[in-house]
Subunit: 412 residues, 4 copies
Amino acid sequence: MSRKDQQLVPISLTDLEHNAHVTMSINALDYYRSGANEMQTLRDNQDAFSRIRLRPRILRDVSKVDTTTTLLGHPVSSPICIAPTAMQRLANDAGEKATARAAAKAKTCMILSSWSTTTAEDTIAAGREIPVDTETPGLPLYWFQLYVYKDRVATEQLIRRVEKVGYKALVITVDTPFLGRRLADVRNVFKLPPHMTMANFENKDSKVTMATILDQEEAAMEAAEALLEKNGAGKKKETRVIRQESSLAAYVVSQIDPTLSWKDIAWVRSITKLPIVVKGVLTAEDAIMAANIGVEGILVSNHGGRQLDGVLATIDALPEVLEAVRGRNVEVYLDGGVRKGTDVFKALALGAKAVFLGRPILWGLAHDGEEGVSLALSLLKQELDLAMALAGCCKISDITRDYVQYGHAARL
Amino acid sequence: MSRKDQQLVPISLTDLEHNAHVTMSINALDYYRSGANEMQTLRDNQDAFSRIRLRPRILRDVSKVDTTTTLLGHPVSSPICIAPTAMQRLANDAGEKATARAAAKAKTCMILSSWSTTTAEDTIAAGREIPVDTETPGLPLYWFQLYVYKDRVATEQLIRRVEKVGYKALVITVDTPFLGRRLADVRNVFKLPPHMTMANFENKDSKVTMATILDQEEAAMEAAEALLEKNGAGKKKETRVIRQESSLAAYVVSQIDPTLSWKDIAWVRSITKLPIVVKGVLTAEDAIMAANIGVEGILVSNHGGRQLDGVLATIDALPEVLEAVRGRNVEVYLDGGVRKGTDVFKALALGAKAVFLGRPILWGLAHDGEEGVSLALSLLKQELDLAMALAGCCKISDITRDYVQYGHAARL
Amino acid sequence: MSRKDQQLVPISLTDLEHNAHVTMSINALDYYRSGANEMQTLRDNQDAFSRIRLRPRILRDVSKVDTTTTLLGHPVSSPICIAPTAMQRLANDAGEKATARAAAKAKTCMILSSWSTTTAEDTIAAGREIPVDTETPGLPLYWFQLYVYKDRVATEQLIRRVEKVGYKALVITVDTPFLGRRLADVRNVFKLPPHMTMANFENKDSKVTMATILDQEEAAMEAAEALLEKNGAGKKKETRVIRQESSLAAYVVSQIDPTLSWKDIAWVRSITKLPIVVKGVLTAEDAIMAANIGVEGILVSNHGGRQLDGVLATIDALPEVLEAVRGRNVEVYLDGGVRKGTDVFKALALGAKAVFLGRPILWGLAHDGEEGVSLALSLLKQELDLAMALAGCCKISDITRDYVQYGHAARL
Amino acid sequence: MSRKDQQLVPISLTDLEHNAHVTMSINALDYYRSGANEMQTLRDNQDAFSRIRLRPRILRDVSKVDTTTTLLGHPVSSPICIAPTAMQRLANDAGEKATARAAAKAKTCMILSSWSTTTAEDTIAAGREIPVDTETPGLPLYWFQLYVYKDRVATEQLIRRVEKVGYKALVITVDTPFLGRRLADVRNVFKLPPHMTMANFENKDSKVTMATILDQEEAAMEAAEALLEKNGAGKKKETRVIRQESSLAAYVVSQIDPTLSWKDIAWVRSITKLPIVVKGVLTAEDAIMAANIGVEGILVSNHGGRQLDGVLATIDALPEVLEAVRGRNVEVYLDGGVRKGTDVFKALALGAKAVFLGRPILWGLAHDGEEGVSLALSLLKQELDLAMALAGCCKISDITRDYVQYGHAARL
Ligand SMILES: Cc1cc2nc3c(=O)[nH]c(=O)nc-3n(C[C@H](O)[C@H](O)[C@H](O)COP(=O)(O)O)c2cc1C
Ligand SMILES: Cc1cc2nc3c(=O)[nH]c(=O)nc-3n(C[C@H](O)[C@H](O)[C@H](O)COP(=O)(O)O)c2cc1C
Ligand SMILES: Cc1cc2nc3c(=O)[nH]c(=O)nc-3n(C[C@H](O)[C@H](O)[C@H](O)COP(=O)(O)O)c2cc1C
Ligand SMILES: Cc1cc2nc3c(=O)[nH]c(=O)nc-3n(C[C@H](O)[C@H](O)[C@H](O)COP(=O)(O)O)c2cc1C
C-alpha cells in the first residue's frame, strides 16, 4: 500500500491531519508538526481542552443556530479563523493563494504570515477573486502578521505595502525574539526548497532575503555561524557542525530584532492607523501592559507549542488574560490546539472572541489545496454549529462561562 | 478460530460485551458502541464511577438482602432498569419483544424507544405473555420514550397509542434536537437493513417513515441533502459526498423537532395524564426548570456519550441535579456507563432512585436474545446484591451518601 | 525455555512473585493473585502507597537500627507479620507448617487461617520445633483467624482447640459474609485438589467439611445450587451452569454465617479470654464500634482486594481509623499491598502498629517452602531496616507522621 | 547494525543519554542509570519538573542574555554545575581529568567525588592546564565531595589534601550512611574493573582501600559478610549468596561512618576554613539545622533517586527548604533530574542559586570524553539561554517566582 493509498475520506480534522501526514515530505511534515524541545506544551494545548467539561442546557429552540460574529467590528461567518503560518507552499503549491480563497469563501479572517511564500499583494488579490455572496452573512477579512525586523526601514516598507492593499490589522508576533528549538528541524537541517522564497522580501532592495541564505553557500555559512556563536559554541567550527542547524533559526538570529519591546509597539502604533493585535500573550501582567499601550486585540498564543516548551496551554492561560483586561476595550483571541467544535465552544465560553487555526489549515492545504482548506474550515464550523445546538446556544453571545467547568469534579 | 468461537461463558457484563462484539455486523456494532466524536464522554461515564471509592460497613446481618424498590410508586425487583435503545432487531431478530419478556421476568422497568423496530403494541404484548409470578416481589413496568416530531399530530397519535396499551410513563428525550456526530456511523453510512423498519411509524398515514428514506433513492437524497445544507456545505454536492452521512442523522434533521422547548413539555403535560420523565438533564439549572414545570422524573443522561462529546459524566452531574431538586417531588434516575453492581450502588448512594442500562441490554440481546437480556439483568442484580451485602446494606434505602467518597484521598 | 527456567535469584518480593507465578498451577495461581471483579482495589492497595512521599531526616547516628516492637504486649523482631491465607498447601506441600517454622525463625507473628490445609494443632507444633534463640530479641507468636460458622457449636469447639494449643489472639474476619466474586476462580471453577482438606474441620462430628462437598457429587450440587439460588438465578439450572461457580464461594454460602453482627463479637468476647482483633475494618464509624465493644485490635484490611471491589485502599483508610480510636486502648494494624520496606515504613508513620503480608508469604512458599517464607520475611525486614536508616530513624517509635506526606505537592 | 552505529548526532541531553547507553558496558551502564528499588524517585525527579508550568513575559529586549552568576562569591559562567559522581573512568578512560578540563573550559563548578578514580590532586591539575580566558566572564571552580569515613584520621588527611591543592569548598554528603539498594547492581554483583581504583585512598597507609576488597578474595568475603550480617541474614552463608551483593554496598558498610551526625559537621567545621555545603537535605527541618550549625550551602538532593526510594522529588522539596532558610546566609542548590534548560530555569525561579548535573555529565564522558562533557554543558547552557530569552529574562536575577506555577490549572 503506497502512502497515498492510506488516505481517508476526511470527516474530522484528525482525518485531515492523517492525510497530510501521508502526503507531505518529511522535511515539511516535521516543520509543520513539531513543537519545541520535548513538545510538552504542544500536547498540553490539546489536553487542556479535554480537561474542561461542558454543561449543556436543554429544551431551547435550536432550529436556527447562528455562528456569525465580528472581529474588531468586521462581520465574519464564524469565530473560526486562520492563524498565520509561514511558507504555505511547502504544503501545496497553491499555498497562501489557496488559503486566501478558502477564507473568502468561508467569510472568515485570515492572518497572513510575514514569512509567506506568496507576497502580501498576490495573496489578497487571490482572495478577492472570490465573488462576494451577498445572501449569506459575513465578509472575508485579511490581517497581516508582522515580524519586526532589525531593519526598521524594511519593516516600515512592509507595513505600508499591506496597508495599501487592504489588510485590516497588524498582528505583531512577540514570542519570537529567537526561534524555539524544534529538534526535528535541527536534525533535518530544515530549509526551504530552492524554488520557494520568503516572497515578501524578494524585491531587490531588501536586505532580509532568506532565499539568499539558502542559495549562496557563503551567506548560509555566515548566518549559521552567527547562530552558533550566539549559542556560545565559539567561532571556530567545521562546516559539518554549522550545517547542523535549521536555516530558519539562523535566519531569525540574523534578521529578527531581539530587542523588541513595548516601545516598539508604540512605534508601530505611531506610524500606522491599522488596529494592532499582539500575538503571544500568556500572562495577566502582559495583558495589562498591552491594554495600557492601547492595542485593539490580544491573541493568547504559545505559537502552537513551538517556542518555549513548558509554558501554559493557551486555554489555561486565557482566564487570567481575560480577567486582567475585563472592562478594557480589547478583544481577546486564542490559538493553539483547537481541533474540535467543542474546543471552539470552550474557548468562547471562557471569553475568547474568536479562535485561530494553525496546523489544521496546513493539513487542509496538503490534503487538497483550496478545497482542503475549505473542508477544514467547514468541518469545524459544522462541529461548532452542532455543539451549540446540543448545548442549547443559538448565537455566539449565548455561549457563556456557565457552559463549562474545569475538571470533572461533581459540583457541590 | 472463527469470530463466533471467541465467545466466552459470560460471568460479567464485560463478557457479554465481548460476545456481542464477536457476533454483530460491523454496521450494527459500530452503531451500538460509538460515542460522539472523540468519545471522551463515553469513556468518562465509566471512568467517573471508578473515581468514587466505597466505604463499606461491617458486622450487620446481611443474610437477607432486598433489592426491591419503586419507580413512581410502582414496585420493581431492583433499581436496575432498561434504557430506551433504538432498533433492537439489529442485535437479534427477536428485538424489542425479547427485551420486553426479559424485563417482565426480571420484574423491572423497560423504556421502549420511539425508534423501535417493533411497534409499541407488539412489544408490550410480548412482555405480557410472561405469567406474573405472585410469589416474588415486583412487577413488570413499561415506559415509552418519546421523540417529539415536527409533525405534532403524529406525535399525539403516538402518545394515544402508548397510553392505550398500558405504558405507564412518557420519557421525553430532550438531548437530541440533532443527532450527535458518531464518526463510525458516518464512515459506515449507517442505515437500517431493508427488511427492518421504524415500526411505530409504519402506518400508511405517517409522514415520518424512515424506511421510505432508505428504500427510495430519491427520498434518501433529499434527506441527506437537507443535512448537508444544514451543515453549511451548500446545495451543489455530488452523490458521493451525500452518501457520506448516516441516514439516521439525516432522518433526525428531516423529522425531529429542533424547536422543542419547555413549552412543548407543558403541551405534552396538558394532553396526557401519564407521568413525564425528562431524559437528558445534566445541570442543576435544568433540573430546577423541570421540577418547576411539574415533571415526575428526571433522567440524568448524556445519551451514553452519543450526543455532545465533552459533557460531564452522568455520575459527576448527578449530585448537582439532586441538590437542585432536593425537597421537590421529583424522582431522579441516571444512565450512562453502568456496568457493575458497584456502579449501581454508587449511583444510589449519591441519591439516584434507579439506574438504566443502554448498551448492556443490547449486548445481552446480541449474545442470546431474551435469555441474554435476562442474563445481563441477573448478573448485574447479583452483583448489586453482593455489593450491598459486603457493604453492610440490607435494603435499598440503607444505601446512603456515607457509603461513598469522591477520589481516593484519605479522610482527615 | 521451560517455565521453571524463568526463575530469578530473588532479591525483592517482586522476584518472589515472579518465581511463584512460573511455578504454580493456574488453578492455584489465579486463586492467589485474584482480586474481586475488576480488581481496582487490588491495584489501588499498592498504588496508594506510591502516592505517599517520604520526608527523610539526615545526620542522625543510624549505626544501630532496631526494628523490634510488640503486638498486644508480645515482643516481635519486627512489625512485619503474616496475614492469614487459606489453603497454603496449594503453594507448597509443606504448607502452613513451613510458614509456622519461618515465622518462628523470624520471631514474628503468624495468623493461621480457619481454612488452613493443616490443623491448628499441627501448625503450631511445627513452629515450636524451632529452638528459641535467646540471644536475639523477639519471640514467635501465633494468632488464629476465625470465621464464625452458622454452626456455633463447631465455632466454639474451634476456639477451645486454639486456646488449648497456645494461639494468643482471635482474629475475627468480618468482611466475608459472602465470598467476593473473583472472576478467574469462577471461570476456573476453583476447587481444592482431592488430597487436600480444610483440615480444621476433618473430625467426624463436624458438619462443616468442605472436603465432603468436593468429594461427593451430590453435596457439591446442593451447595452450588444454594449459591445460585441466593444469586437469584432460580432453582432449575443444568449441571453445566452449576459447575460454573467457585466451590469456595458455594462453601461460604452454605457454612459461614451472614447474620454475623456486633452482638456475635460480644458473644465471642464472652466465651474466651483471648484478645480479639477485628479484621476488615475500613471506616472510622466501625473503628469506633469496635473500640466500644472492647476489642484489643483492629486490622484495617480489605481482604487484599478480594471482597468488595472499589473500596478504599487500606493505607488510605488507615488515617480515619486511627483518628477515630485515638486515645482508646486499641492497637491498629494494616494489611493489603505491602510489598516494600518503604510501604511498611509509611504504614507505621501514619500510625499502624504493624503490617501483615498476605500474598508475599504465599509467593515465598511457592518459591521454596519454609526457606522461601524466610526469604520473603528477611528481604522485607532488610528493606525496612535500610529505609529506617536512610530516613534517620533508629527505632520503630521514631517513625512518626512527619516522615510522610500525601501526594507530591511542594509544601508551602 | 552494531550498537555503536545506533549513535545520534547529539542535539540534546537525551541524545547524549542514548549514545552513552549504546556505548557502555552493562555493568557501568546499570551502575550509572539505576535508582534505588522501584526507582519511583528517579522518575519523579524528572516528572516533577514537568508538573511546573512556565509563565513567560514578552516584549523585553533580550538581545543580550547573561547567564553568569556566583557560587559562594565565586563567579561562574552559568548556574549549571557538575555534581559529584563516583568512578568516572568507568565511562571513559579520561575520567575525572576530562570532566575537570571541560569544567574549566565552561568556567563552571565541578564537585569531585571522594570515590573518584583519579586523585583529587591529579584532577585539579588537569583542570588547571586549561588556560584562563580572561575575555569571557567566569572562572573554573572545584569543590570536593566528602564522605566521612569511620577512620577520622583518614578523613582529616583527605581534607588537608584537598585544601592544599585548591578545592574551594567541602560538600559533605549526608544521605549515605548505607548505600541505597540498586537492584541492577545487586544482580550484576557490581564491581570496579581490576585496573581502576578508588584513587584517593591508594596511598599505602590508608585502611580504606576499595581496591583491596576487590583484589583479594578474602577481604572481599569479609566485607560482603559484614553487609549480609548487617542485613540480618546471619553469618553462615555460602559463597554464592555472598557474591550476590554489590561490592560498593559492602564497601560502604565496612568504611563509611553510619553514626555521622550534626556534631560531626561541627567537627569538620572546626578543623577547616573551607566553606561547607551539606548535600542531601530534603526537609525544612534539616535545612534549619544546617543553617543553625553554620554551613554556607545546602544542596537539595536525593542522590539522583539512588538512596531512599519514595522520597520527594528535589524540585518539590526545594520550596520548603528555601522557605525555612529565608533571610539566613545560606545558598541553596539543587540536583536531580535536571535535563533541560527549562528545568534549570524552573529551579532558579523557585529560588535555587544553581543546579548540579549528575548523570548527564557521565553521558557526555561516555559519548566523547572531555568533548562530550563540554557538549553536555554547552547544550544545556544554550537551552537555558534560549529559555531565558523566550521568557523575557536577561540575567539570572530576573528569574523569579512569577515565572512559574505548580500544575496546569488556570489562575483565577
Ligand atoms: C508550521 C507553522 C508555521 C508557523 N508560522 C508562523 C508565523 O510565521 N508567524 C506567526 O506568528 N506564527 C506562526 N505560527 C504559529 C501559529 O500562528 C499559531 O500560533 C499556532 O500554529 C497555533 O497552534 P495550532 O497549530 O495548534 O493551531 C506557525 C505555526 C506553525 C505550525
Ligand atoms: C445504540 C443506542 C441506541 C439508543 N437509542 C436511544 C433512543 O432511541 N432514545 C433515547 O432516548 N436514547 C437512546 N439511547 C441512549 C440510551 O437511552 C442511554 O441514555 C444510554 O445508552 C446509556 O448509556 P450506556 O449505553 O452506557 O448504558 C441509545 C443508546 C444506544 C447505545
Ligand atoms: C489466597 C488468599 C487467601 C486468603 N485467605 C484468607 C483467609 O482464609 N482468611 C482471612 O481472613 N483472610 C484471607 N485472605 C486475606 C489476607 O488475610 C489479607 O487480608 C490480604 O491478603 C492482604 O493483602 P496482600 O495479599 O496484598 O498482602 C486471603 C488472601 C489471599 C490472597
Ligand atoms: C553513577 C552515580 C554516582 C554517584 N556518585 C556520587 C558520589 O560519589 N558522591 C555523591 O555525593 N553523590 C554521588 N552521586 C549523586 C550525584 O551527586 C547527584 O546527587 C545525582 O546524580 C543528581 O541526579 P541526576 O543524576 O538526575 O542529575 C552519584 C550519582 C550517580 C548517578
